[in-house]
């Protein structure tokens, strides 16, 4: 009786078992990378808004401080979305008749809030607090990116847990002096690690990696 399999079947079997390990490993890496990609996290994808509000124009062009609109960032968990009244502080005088700003004037007249599209949306089981980060020397642009170069707002970071933990494990890589927290033109000094270590000690920054720091 002749053999069912040719001698080469041994080699094929070995190669395919060996290859399968790499194939599965590759598949897992691919899956992890897809999960990290903007396709899943929607980072760096500009969001359409009811009014084409440009942070670039207002921040870089006009030099308005973050806190002029996001008033509660220093003492609340939520940075705050400004009421229409804040827009009208300037826009009752500047571009007061521009057709682009009709929704703003309409909101002001009727008292109905402008329905902005949320850009940074954390999962519901995560609790983030702006005030403590700002008070410990985490700059706006550290997480939100160069807002002064975003005509339409996008989410700069992945907002995934590994991204949070990256800083929570080694804050010295990111912290800056408290005075520079709201500066959008702040550039990390070449000795960031050295400066960071000093600030971590000075501001008593803790490495909070316990789950219940953010999950509750």
């Amino acid at each position: 009786m002749s053999q069912i399999f040719h001698r080469s079947a041994n080699t094929i079997a070995r190669v395919s078992i060996f290859g399968a390990v790499f194939f599965i490993a590759g598949l897992l890496v691919l899956l992890a990378e897809v999960n990290r990609s903007p396709w899943m996290t929607e980072s760096r994808v500009a969001r359409e808004q009811p009014i084409q509000f440009s942070h670039e124009r207002h921040v870089a062009g006009n030099g308005i401080d973050c806190r002029y609109c996001h008033t509660s960032v220093e003492d609340s968990s939520f940075a705050g979305v400004p009421p229409t009244k804040t827009c009208m502080n300037c826009h009752s005088q500047i571009f007061a008749n521009s057709p682009f700003l009709e929704p703003v004037r309409d909101s002001f007249r009727t008292g109905r809030s402008i329905q902005w599209t949320r850009v940074h949306d954390l999962p519901d089981f995560v609790y983030f607090n702006h005030s403590i980060h700002v008070n410990k020397g985490v700059g706006c642009t550290t997480c939100h990116g160069q807002v002064d170069r975003m005509p339409l707002m996008w989410q700069e970071s992945s907002l995934q847990m590994e991204w949070c933990l990256d800083c929570h494990r080694s804050p010295e890589r990111y912290v800056r002096p408290r005075g520079a927290v709201f500066r959008v033109d702040y550039v990390e000094p070449p000795d960031q690690i050295e400066l960071g270590r000093r600030l971590v000690a000075e501001y008593q920054i803790q490495r909070l990696t316990s789950c219940s720091t953010c999950h509750r």
Binding site: D75, I132, N135
Partner: protein, 230 residues
């Protein structure tokens, strides 16, 4: 030194009114399950008031014992969790991470105090009660285990405010919902690492005892009651 949160319950003060239970439900978005499911043992009360009748009629004495998670230092629920959803924090809290929990229920089986509850259903609140949910606490979905957290959201809020204002926490700054709701002031919460705090002082009291002390779980809740000579 990190905090070590603990509680003292004065049973001689407790009137069994149940305000703590109500406060806990309101604070922590705990759903009610209805009489049919409660009869099957699926009622959820992170904090319950146990009733004990002592003596025979007519010489009956009724005593109460509020029982919440004892936040054991040697918690039996922690080593059995395959996903580390049930774990110990630096501050001695026995924390439950809902988004890690896969619902094996090992922890509830290991707990000698029966203070862990499994979500058999997605919680539902008839309108307009859904508007009273606490935004600082996750609403747990079906298939996860939940339990008393010592109102960790309040601890974090006070800690964050204190750090942002660069001051130290004072004794009594942190009040879980049950403590705040207790009109008899039978419940006292605070830092056990601070020897001067009220809860430390009460925990050292000769009136104090732990629940099921002999099983060796090292609970952080101390029950105070009148000790009688037998």
């Amino acid at each position: 030194m990190p905090h070590k949160w603990g509680m003292a319950v004065d049973l001689d003060r407790c009137t069994g009114c149940g305000a703590c239970v109500t406060a806990c439900h309101a604070e922590n978005n705990i759903p009610t399950v209805g009489p049919a499911q409660a009869a099957r043992g699926r009622a959820m009360h992170w904090l319950r008031v146990e009733r004990y009748w002592e003596g025979d009629f007519p010489d009956v004495r009724l005593t109460f014992r509020p029982v919440m998670c004892q936040h054991c230092d040697a918690a039996p629920c922690e080593p059995v969790c395959p996903t580390y959803a049930s774990h110990h924090t630096d501050e001695g809290l026995n924390a439950q991470v809902y988004n890690r929990c896969i619902g094996t229920r090992y922890c509830a089986n290991a707990c000698p105090y029966s203070v862990r509850f499994f979500d058999f259903f997605n919680p539902q609140w008839p309108k307009p009660l859904h508007l009273q949910l606490n935004p600082d606490v996750s609403v747990r979905e079906v298939g996860v285990m939940e339990k008393c957290t010592f109102c960790v959201q309040r601890i974090r809020a006070v800690e964050i405010d204190a750090k942002a204002e660069k001051r130290e926490l004072k004794d009594g700054d942190v009040k879980p919902a049950c403590v705040q709701g207790c009109s008899a002031r039978a419940l006292v919460f605070g830092d056990l690492n601070d020897p001067e705090s009220e809860v430390s002082r009460l925990s050292r009291s000769p009136r104090g005892s732990k629940l099921l002390e002999d099983v060796g779980t090292l609970p952080k809740v101390t029950y105070l009651e009148r000790q009688t000579q037998v």
